[in-house]
Amino acid sequence: MATVTEEARSTWHDHVSDAEYRMVMEFLFREAMLLDAGRLVEWLELLAPQIRYTLETPRFEMVQATMRQGEPSVCLMNEDMGSLEARVKQLTTPSLTLAENPRSISRRFVTNILVERHEGQLLAHSNVLLHRLRVGQGAPHGFSTQRTDRFAMIDGRLKLAQRQARLDEPMINTHSISAMF
C-alpha cells in the first residue's frame, strides 16, 4: 500500500492497460475458483518458484499521542514453495488431514482489485472475504482479508511471486486456518 502514492493515484490507469487489469482480475478470480474447489495442486502451478506468501494480523494497541502509529502485527503464516507444497500434500490427502476431511466448504469473495505497476512489475491490491464452513461448526467463519500481490511473467504466463495477506482478526474466532487466502 505504501506504493500507492499521491502521484501514482492521479495517473494510475495510464500505467496499467485495460488488458493488463483484466488479466490480473481474471487471474485472481480463477485462483479463487481453484482454491474454493480444493484444486490445490493446480493452484501451486499459478505460483512463481520464488513465491513468498505471508499472512499477518494486527493487534489492538492504545494510542496516547495525537498521531496514530501503525498497528503492530502478528505473524500467522510465512511460507515458501517448499512449505506450500507440504501444505497442499497434507490438505489434499484424506488420510493425512483431520481438519480438512471432510473438506470444508469455501467461497472466496474477491473485491476492490486495484492494479498498479511498481518497479516494472504488476502489483495488485484486493480484498477477500473467505466464507468457510467446516464440518461440525454450526456457522461459517468469515475471514476478512486484504492482500497485496506482486506478479511475475514466466514463460509468457502470469505467476504470483509474492502475496502479503492481512487478516482482520486479532483474536481469530475459529480453531485453525487450514486454508490459503
Binding site: M62, M77, M81, G82, T97, P170, I172, H175
Partner: protein
C-alpha cells in the same frame, strides 16, 4: 467432594466422567477453586521492557493489567476502574505513565494509586487511599516467566513450580540472557475444554497418528523414519510432578547432539546450565509439557518443507477458559537472546508453519479437541466414562537423570493421570469447604 463430583470422579483411578470436561457447573467450581486460587501465567518480563509498559491478560474469568511501574517493579491490577467499573485498558498492550479511565477520567499512576478524580472538589480526600486499583493477590516470577494469583494466601511460586524449575531452566534460562518473545502472541478461540488442551500436550499416542502427514515431511527432510520414531517414542520418558505438571521428554536417538540448534549457542548452554542439566538437555530434552493448570510449552525439532532441514523452536501456550466448552489460546514463540538473527528467523518460520493457528500440526489437533467437546456434552454421551489407562501398573524409572517421577514410555497415560489427579485433589478441597 459433593455427590455430583463424586459420581464423576470416583469410578476408578484411571476413569473419569465426561462431565468434568463439559459441565458448566463443574467449570464454575473450577473458576473458584483453581483459577481464582492458584498461580496463573500472565506474561514474560521481556514483554514489559520499560516503566509504564503494560499488557492486558486473562486471569480466570477476569482481566488483569500487568504493568511495570516507574520504580521498575511489575504489578498486576484488575482491569476495572474503581469508580463505576469501566474496563480501564481496552487494548492488548500499551505504554503509559498513568492509567486514565476513559469515562470520567479517574487517573491512576503506574503503581495503581488514585491520583485524581478530575472533580476532586466533590470527593473526600480520605477516600483516595481506598480507591486505588484493585491489585492481584500475589505476583512473582521465575526466570522471566511472570505468574500472578488472585489469592493472597496462595503458596509461594517456587513451591507451586517445585522440581519443574530444573527443567524450566533448560528451556527459558539456558544462556546468560535467557529467552525473548518473537513478537506479540497469536490469539485464537477453540471450542473445547481447557483441560483437553493441556492434556494433549502430555499425550504422545495421538502424535504418531494425527500428525502422520507432517511427520512424514520431517522424515523426508532428514528426520527419523516413522518406524524408528515410533520406537523412540515408546522408550522415551514421561515425567510427572505432584503439583500436576508433566513433561514429554524425547530421547535424541541417532540424531547428532544439538542438531537443529544455532551452533554458537551450544557453548552458552554448557556454561549456563549445570552439568546434569546440560547432559539432560543434550540427550533427552523436555520437548513438550504442561504447567498446571493452563500453560503448555513445546520445543520440538521440526520442518514443514521437505527442502528445509529440521530446526528447533520454543513455543509457550496459555489455555484460557471461556466457560466449560471454549478456550482462548494465547501463543508465543521464543528464542534465546543470543541466537543469530538468521537462526531466529528460520526458527520463527518453521514455528509458525507447524504450531500456531496456521500450523500444520495444530490444525489437526484442534479439530480433534473440538470434536471431543461436541460429542461428550450430550445427554447420553456424558454418561459414558473416559479412560486414561494406558500403562496402568507400569513402574517408574528408578534413578532417573532428572527430578520428578519418570515413566519409561511416552505411549502411556501417567503424566496425564498426574495432571488429573492434581485437579481431583483441588476440586476435592472445594468440596470440603462446601
Amino acid at each position: 467432594m459433593n455427590a455430583m463430583f463424586g459420581q464423576e470422579l470416583r469410578n476408578d483411578e484411571t476413569t473419569f466422567s465426561r462431565s468434568i470436561f463439559s459441565s458448566e457447573g463443574v467449570h464454575a467450581a473450577e473458576i473458584e477453586t483453581i483459577f481464582n486460587s492458584t498461580w496463573l501465567y500472565v506474561a514474560h518480563a521481556a514483554e514489559l521492557p520499560d516503566p509504564g509498559s503494560y499488557v492486558v491478560r486473562p486471569m480466570g474469568g477476569d482481566e488483569a493489567i500487568i504493568i511495570r511501574g516507574k520504580d521498575g517493579v511489575i504489578r498486576g491490577f484488575l482491569n476495572s476502574c474503581r469508580h463505576r467499573g469501566m474496563q480501564l485498558c481496552r487494548a492488548d498492550a500499551g505504554r503509559s505513565s498513568r492509567l486514565v479511565c476513559p469515562y470520567h477520567a479517574w487517573t491512576f499512576d503506574s503503581e495503581g494509586k488514585l491520583v485524581t478524580t478530575s472533580y476532586d472538589q466533590h470527593y473526600d480526600k480520605a477516600w483516595f487511599d481506598e480507591l486505588g486499583l484493585t491489585p492481584v493477590g500475589r505476583i512473582d516470577s521465575y526466570k522471566g516467566l511472570i505468574f500472578a494469583s488472585w489469592n493472597d494466601q496462595v503458596c509461594p511460586l517456587d513451591e507451586h513450580l517445585g522440581d519443574l524449575r530444573w527443567y524450566l531452566d533448560i528451556l527459558f534460562a539456558r544462556t546468560p540472557c535467557g529467552v525473548t518473545p518473537l513478537g506479540p502472541p497469536q490469539r485464537w478461540v477453540v471450542d473445547t475444554n481447557w483441560k483437553i488442551a493441556g492434556l494433549n500436550f502430555l499425550d504422545s499416542q495421538h502424535a504418531l497418528r494425527t500428525h502422520a502427514g507432517p511427520l512424514d515431511a520431517v522424515y523426508k527432510a532428514g528426520g527419523p523414519p516413522p518406524q524408528e520414531l515410533a520406537k523412540l517414542v515408546d522408550r522415551s520418558p514421561q515425567i510427572t510432578f505432584p503439583q500436576g505438571h508433566g513433561i514429554v521428554s524425547a530421547l535424541r536417538g541417532d540424531a547428532p547432539p544439538f542438531a537443529g540448534w544455532d551452533e554458537a549457542l551450544v557453548p552458552l548452554f554448557e556454561q549456563t546450565l549445570s552439568p546434569a542439566q546440560f547432559a539432560h538437555f543434550r540427550d533427552c530434552p523436555p520437548q513438550v509439557g504442561t504447567i498446571f493448570p493452563n500453560l503448555s510449552w513445546a520445543e520440538p525439532l521440526l520442518t514443514v518443507s521437505t527442502r528445509t532441514p529440521p530446526i528447533h523452536f520454543l513455543l509457550l501456550r496459555l489455555w484460557q477458559p471461556r466457560g466449560a466448552n471454549q478456550i482462548e489460546v494465547t501463543s508465543w514463540y521464543f528464542a534465546d537472546k543470543e541466537a543469530s538473527e538468521e537462526w531466529r528467523h528460520a526458527s520463527h518460520l518453521v514455528a509458525a508453519q507447524s504450531f500456531g493457528v496456521g500450523g500444520v500440526f495444530d490444525e489437526d489437533d484442534m479439530e480433534a479437541w473440538a470434536g471431543i467437546s461436541r460429542s461428550i456434552r450430550n445427554p447420553i454421551s456424558r454418561r459414558v466414562p473416559v479412560h486414561f489407562n494406558a500403562g496402568r501398573g507400569m513402574a517408574p524409572i528408578e534413578n532417573f537423570s532428572g527430578p520428578g517421577t519418570a515413566y519409561p514410555s511416552l505411549l502411556i497415560d501417567r503424566a496425564q493421570l498426574g495432571f488429573l489427579t492434581r485437579w481431583r485433589e483441588l476440586m476435592g478441597k472445594a468440596e470440603e469447604v462446601a
